[in-house]
């Protein structure tokens, strides 16, 4: 195997990236109120699927609240689990994309480049978290609902896979503001829409490369775990266990 000097360069450049974006979900705070779900729809131009498409299981949610029942009446319990793209460091969706539409950014984000995507859906099939969703048709908004669309986010047309981006448009503008002032992004300066809206502050977002960020601190919590840890996907989302009796 010949050594490609450029590839090494590329690798070292990536490793030198100043930021590594991660999220923490505190299940002891999450109340399942779904404020994050609507916040995400509003921010990211997520289509309105409608009753028929929703019945086909084609409704698109970049973040969803999973609910688990435990036990039988009257000793029944419910647990909520907000699930979004886990932005895995070893993401199963990335190597299967034939056109490199799904790839890892130097800042640890699992990215989908919509204009590259040809819609083979291998990535969605390979994602254990069902975080990737497919646009079976072109989206439609009854006028004038489209006036609300966020110009910072592409409208995905039919035939494209889409997923949570950790609100990359917000990361981008946060980095730009910091860059213009010649400093690093401050902890808490960038908040994805879900994190911003969460009434109980169950979602926390930040830079893991900053040892003093809240994400760095919370990741070390004894309550911390990752979804499907055994798969070795190394997610960038850390969950904190809900405490119970």
């Amino acid at each position: 195997m010949s050594q490609d000097p450029q590839a090494t360069d590329e690798y070292s450049k990536q490793a030198a990236s100043p930021y590594k974006w991660e999220m923490v979900v505190d299940l002891d705070r999450c109340s399942g109120c779904e404020a994050c779900v609507v916040a995400c729809h509003a921010e990211n131009n997520i289509r309105i699927s409608g009753e028929e498409e929703a019945a086909e299981g084609r409704a698109i949610n970049w973040i969803r609240i999973e609910r688990y029942w435990e036990g039988d009446y009257p000793d029944v319990k419910v647990k909520f689990l907000p699930v979004m793209c886990q932005h895995c460091d070893d993401a199963p969706c990335e190597p299967v994309c034939p056109v490199y539409a799904s790839y890892h950014t130097p800042e640890g984000l699992n990215a989908q480049v919509y204009n590259r995507c040809i819609g083979v859906r291998y990535c969605g099939n390979n994602c254990p978290y069902v975080a990737r969703q497919f646009n079976w048709f072109d989206p439609h908004w009854d006028e004038p609902l489209a006036e609300q669309l966020n110009p910072d986010v592409s409208v995905r047309s039919g035939g494209v896979m889409e997923k949570c981006t950790f609100c990359v448009q917000r990361i981008r503008s946060g980095k730009e503001a910091a860059h213009k002032e010649g400093r690093r992004v401050r902890d808490g300066e960038i908040t994805p829409a879900c994190v911003q809206s969460c009434p109980t502050s169950a979602l926390i977002f930040g830079d893991r490369n900053d040892p003093d960020s809240r994400v760095s601190h919370l990741k070390k919590s004894r309550r911390g775990f990752h979804l499907m840890e055994s798969l070795g996907t190394h997610p960038a989302v850390t969950y904190l266990r809900r405490l119970s009796e």
Binding site: Y103, N115, D152, H179
Partner: protein, 171 residues
């Protein structure tokens, strides 16, 4: 007999595929020059070249926004109010002003929806307007911009050490 029908079907299929590919190639070149006809003739050569007005006097948001902005009629008027020389186009400008109507300029610089581009950060990085837009001060008409292709962007990003990560520019 059957061979004939097969032939017809094949021909039809081939025809439709050819139409498809033809239609594909015509996308992007669908913008005919007639669409570039601005509501009034404006000369960058006169304004930016001969009169030496700085780009950002008119495109005043370039340093603070992703978009550079086109001047408002009021901004045109700050100079044109005191000018007596009345060409047909200047008269047209006065009509817009009197009617309090904005000028419906045709967009000539286009990027697709999946591209994020910001004037603000490019100027902050020290680029000059002409690096991308060319010698506008020598163009008398308002010319259609060259297609901004990704390879062209990347060449510069590569040379200047700017980010080449897809998500820097794709949204």
């Amino acid at each position: 007999m059957f061979g004939n029908i097969k032939g017809v079907i094949l021909a039809l299929l081939a025809g439709s595929v050819a139409t498809g590919i033809g239609a594909l190639y015509s996308i992007g070149s669908a913008d005919l020059p007639v669409q570039d006809q601005q509501p009034l003739r404006f000369s960058h050569r006169l304004h930016a070249g001969i009169l030496n007005i700085q780009c950002q006097f008119c495109h005043r948001y370039a340093t603070q926004s992703p978009v550079a902005g086109v001047p408002s009629v009021a901004l045109c008027q700050t100079c044109h109010e005191s000018l007596s020389e009345a060409t047909p186009d200047m008269k047209r400008l006065q009509i817009y002003w009197k009617d309090k109507r904005p000028i419906p300029w045709i967009r000539l610089q286009r990027l697709p929806d999946h591209v994020y581009f910001t004037h603000e950060m490019h100027l902050f990085a020290g680029l000059s307007c002409t690096s991308c837009h060319g010698k506008v001060d020598r163009m008398s008409g308002t010319p259609r911009a060259p297609t901004y292709e990704m390879g062209w962007c990347l060449t510069c990003h590569e040379q200047t050490g700017a980010s080449q990560d897809c998500w820097t520019c794709h949204k």
